[in-house]
């Protein structure tokens, strides 16, 4: 119900933006969502989340009413575009679908950061940075996406994970709508493959082999997919704002909004935001119509708009720093190098101005092979994906007849390619000096970190190619038609089909593939690389048709890959309810235990031989009750002198008693035990831990330092 109100508020805001601010109808959803993220971030930092949120809802409906009264029903008629309809209808369908299926969180980071942050926001009506929690590092968390989820369940009191998913998917649909902005309902034929591509993009960059478990695209609270889509959306939006191929500087604020929001979506995407901003300013200055003094003025406007987009990020950094200091007082600590120091150290070591640390040289050695071999999309490793995307850009470049647009495509590709190299450097620095994960199994979750950039490049490539398919039919097309150009178009399809088949049969594991398959695989990619040249030579005068066929071919190929690699029942659309049983059980355990708790009670957590995951999960499920960090955060608690015991964290029986008293832990939640724990600490429990038979047991303190089981 509260989610339906949120959707209505967004739609109302869209109507206002279209009617009164003269934004293209299909671009309004993306802007409305970005405005929501930015507004709520500001309100959160100012600590007025609840009243400001109420005001936002009132404003959205009020402004919509104002627009309708002033401009009449004509505005509503203007809203009827493919993009806006996809957003509105898609949101309604997803809302109904998720309300029935109620998917839950299930991944590690959803419990340790993203999902818990959203739940804290909802329960406290204030930013998670200031919330009380069993641990301290949530301050590094970017706020925009959890706030979007907060908006989606603003009214009412309960918290539901599926509403978080719904809010993030609304963002996906908004980006899809932005991609469809140039089309009217009459152009549905051209819009359809583009829309399909946009909807399947989250799968394209998260499915690498045939799925055997539920694929989490559209069911994730991670920021990776969302940040990539938002970057792509921002760039597409900017290139949509053009008249006769030239940028409209006065409308630059529209593109600055998503970039500003993006800076608050994912921390390590910030350098990429800077790259995108550089591209926007360069493009606006180089290609805007006025020359001379007027150009200077326009360049000033462009630079100012882009600089203004940095403000929210600076504001957030100030807030996070403040919150960090607050936490430091209560025992928080800096665990790793800050980003700037890491980047500078990496640069010095790379240029040989400083001897390379062992971890740095290890990471450096891994970067190359990981880029080539590690699968990052449905078509294969990073190199193959780069070739694929480059082919999209090259086709668009070759087929675009407008000279200005051609140069703009080239500029975009050049800047973004340079940005890609820079982003690899950011990853190098991150893996070397910020992340502390082991390198034995390669670079940890490398595919997840790079997928965002590929996603954005892919969306922009598709947009440019689709743009080439929309150009006015040149006279030459009627005058001298030849059908030879169909050959390269077939080549694109054939190249993709070869890859598709190779992926399907699982034969393109490049390290251990038979020579025949490796050859075929590379032949497929060579076809893609040679293609734009062939197209440019052959397609004189038939560029529009060629581009349209290209879009169709890519659309069909991606749809085929999707159907092959994601069996029915393993996607968000059709998964078995059984997939979330484990989570349902944990939630039930926490809810059953919570019946016995008084408001404000703190729970000590015992999970011997755990990995910490269960501690994060129960931290999330027990909220608003606080699960104490419990000395180790869900890893074994050991007495001093035991092999493997951390001397700082080892506790004797008295030590544990003291800890419980100091941290005001009035209850103990036991999930897993071992002999060491029963022997050492059994005396704390009135039943000597006999009640524990594998199922979690809650022990309540009797006020005299002993704990009794709840039956």
């Amino acid at each position: 119900m509260n989610t339906a109100i949120a959707l209505l508020a967004w739609l109302a805001l869209c109507v206002f933006l279209q009617g009164s601010a003269k934004v293209k109808a299909s671009l309004t959803p993306l802007l409305a969502l970005c405005i929501t993220m930015l507004y709520f971030s500001l309100a959160g930092v100012l600590q007025v989340l609840w009243p400001a949120g109420l005001l936002f809802y009132l404003l959205a409906f009020g402004l919509c009413g104002f627009t309708l009264v002033k401009q009449g029903v004509k505005t509503l008629h203007n809203m009827l575009t493919p993009g806006f309809l996809v957003f509105a209808v898609g949101c309604v369908l997803l809302l109904a679908h998720f309300a029935i299926k109620t998917p839950m969180f299930s991944e590690w980071d959803e419990f340790s950061t993203w999902g818990t942050a959203a739940k804290l926001l909802k329960l406290n009506n204030s930013l998670y940075t200031t919330a009380e929690m069993g641990w301290v590092w949530t301050t590094t968390q970017s706020p925009a996406l959890p706030l979007l989820a907060y908006f989606a369940q603003f009214f009412g009191s309960g918290f539901a994970a599926w509403k978080v998913y719904w809010a993030y998917d609304a963002l996906t649909l908004a980006v899809c709508a932005a991609l469809l902005a140039p089309y009217t309902l009459k152009d549905w034929k051209k819009a359809l493959p583009v829309g399909l591509l946009a909807l399947l993009t989250p799968y394209f960059f998260s499915v690498f082999y045939r799925q055997v478990h539920l694929n989490k695209a559209y069911l994730t609270a991670y920021a990776d997919i969302a940040s990539g889509l938002l970057l792509g959306g921002a760039l597409v939006l900017y290139y949509t704002l053009a008249r006769q191929g030239q940028p409209k500087v006065a409308r630059l604020w529209q593109a600055a909004l998503p970039l500003a929001a993006l800076a608050l979506v994912k921390e390590n995407f910030y350098p990429v935001v800077l790259v995108a901003m550089a591209l926007l300013v360069l493009d606006a200055v180089l290609f805007a119509k006025p020359k001379g003094k007027a150009l200077l003025k326009k360049a000033g406007i462009a630079a100012a708009a882009v600089a203004a987009a940095l403000l929210p990020y600076i504001m957030w950094q100030a807030h996070a720093g403040w919150a960090n200091r607050q936490n430091a007082v209560t025992g928080g600590q800096q665990t790793s190098m800050d980003a700037l120091t890491a980047a500078l150290t990496a640069l010095r070591q790379l240029l040989g101005m400083q001897p390379q640390s062992q971890r740095f040289s290890e990471v450096l050695q891994l970067m190359g092979p990981t880029f080539v071999n590690k699968r990052v999309s449905m078509v294969g490793g990073g190199l193959a994906t780069c070739l694929f995307i480059a082919a999209l850009f090259a086709c668009a470049f070759a087929l675009q007849q407008n000279k200005t647009l051609r140069l703009r495509i080239a500029l975009a590709f050049g800047v973004l390619a340079a940005g890609f190299v820079a982003y690899q450097f950011v990853l190098l620095a991150s893996y070397s000096f910020i992340f502390s994960t082991s390198l034995e199994t390669g670079l940890f979750e490398y595919d997840r970190y790079v997928s965002g950039y590929y996603t954005a490049l892919f969306l922009l490539g598709v947009f440019f190619l689709a743009q080439a398919a929309r150009q006015k039919q040149p006279e030459a097309e009627k005058a001298a038609p030849k059908h030879r150009w169909a050959v390269p178009c077939l080549a694109i399809a054939a190249g993709l089909l070869v890859c598709y088949h190779a992926v399907f049969t699982g034969k393109i594991n490049l390290e251990a593939a038979s020579p025949k398959w490796t050859l075929l695989y590379w032949a497929g990619w060579l076809a893609l690389a040679v293609l734009p040249v062939a197209l440019a030579l052959l397609a004189k005068g038939r560029a529009r048709l060629a581009a349209q066929s290209g879009v169709l071919a890519v659309g069909i190929a991606v749809a085929l890959l999707f159907v092959t690699l994601v069996p029915p029942g393993l996607s968000a659309l059709d998964y078995s309810t059984r997939a979330y049983h484990q989570q349902q059980m944990l939630e039930q355990n926490a809810q059953a235990a919570a019946e016995y708790l008084q408001p404000g009670e703190r729970i000590f957590f015992v999970c011997q031989n755990g990995t910490g995951l269960q501690w994060f999960q129960y931290s999330y499920y027990f909220l608003p009750y606080i699960l104490d960090y419990s000395i180790t955060g869900g890893v074994s608690i050991l007495p001093p002198g035991t092999p493997g015991a951390n001397p700082e964290k080892a506790k004797t029986l008295e030590g544990l008693q003291q800890y419980l008293q100091q941290n005001n832990c009035t209850t103990i939640f036991v999930v897993a035990l071992d002999d060491v724990f029963i022997e050492t600490y059994g005396a704390l429990f009135t039943d000597g831990l006999q009640s524990f038979t594998g199922q979690p047991v809650l022990y309540l303190g009797n006020g005299q330092g002993a704990y009794a089981p709840v039956q």
């Binding site: 009827l80 309809l85 009459k186 034929k189 097309e477 048709l545 069909i556 029942g569 059984r578 049983h581």
Partner: protein, 223 residues
């Protein structure tokens, strides 16, 4: 949503060459027809196999099957009971000789939720006991709470049912049946993913055909 789009374009475009909505409409009707035909085909196939004796409906007792990480308990009200002893319990049956299996019914209740429930199958005798992630189906649930696995009429050599993934779950089995009856409606029951594709692919095909026709015309004009 594409249907909506189609109506609008049909209403507005006053047929310069031909009616714009005609081709997509045909594509959607054909796709729907093919889909229903496919459903009917599998219904007819299953029915004929039942009559020819290729599909045999058979209920199994736990004694007939191989059990791993499962301890049988005393019967209760004439129903068999078992408890899973670790997080990977398996009920196995591998003396099938390429028998057609449509649907495996598992009418059972547990004392608590137990995580994922999956049925693995093998499709050649050479495969032996090598069950893979590529050959598995997830459990689905009837309205009355009993479970079933839909294999869609595959020639099967071995089956492996993993009832839970947590261990310590007590199951009460009313019935475990190979080729459990599949109601007529189930052949036509819409699933979300096919529906999603049914909504998009015919439109895509229509766009492709139209584009292809234009190319054809241009090529002909060139000659």
């Amino acid at each position: 949503m594409s249907k909506k789009k189609k109506k609008h374009s049909g209403a507005k475009q006053s047929a310069p060459r031909e009616k714009a909505w005609k081709l997509p409409l045909i594509c959607y009707i054909v796709a729907l027809g093919l889909y229903l035909l496919g459903c009917t085909y599998s219904f007819v196939q299953d029915t004929s196999r039942i009559y020819s004796g290729a599909i045999v409906r058979q209920a199994y007792k736990l004694e007939d099957l191989a059990l791993e990480s499962i301890e049988q308990l005393a019967d209760e009200n004439g129903m068999q009971r078992f408890v899973s002893t670790d997080d990977d319990p398996k009920i196995l049956y591998y003396s099938l000789q390429g028998t057609y299996i449509t649907r495996v019914g598992f009418n059972a209740t547990s004392n608590k939720p137990g995580g994922e429930m999956v049925l693995y199958y093998t499709t050649s005798s050479a495969q032996g006991l090598k069950f893979t992630d590529r050959q598995k189906v997830w459990a689905q649930q009837y309205a009355d709470g009993s479970w079933y696995f839909d294999l869609g009429g595959k020639k099967v050599y071995g089956l492996r049912l993993d009832p839970d993934t947590t261990g310590g779950v007590v199951w009460t089995v009313k019935e475990l049946m190979f080729n459990a009856p599949k109601p007529f409606g189930a052949y036509y029951a819409p699933n979300a993913q096919p529906m999603f594709l049914l909504l998009l692919l015919p439109g895509l095909a229509a766009a492709g055909i139209q584009e292809g026709r234009r190319i054809w015309r241009l090529a002909k004009a060139a000659r």
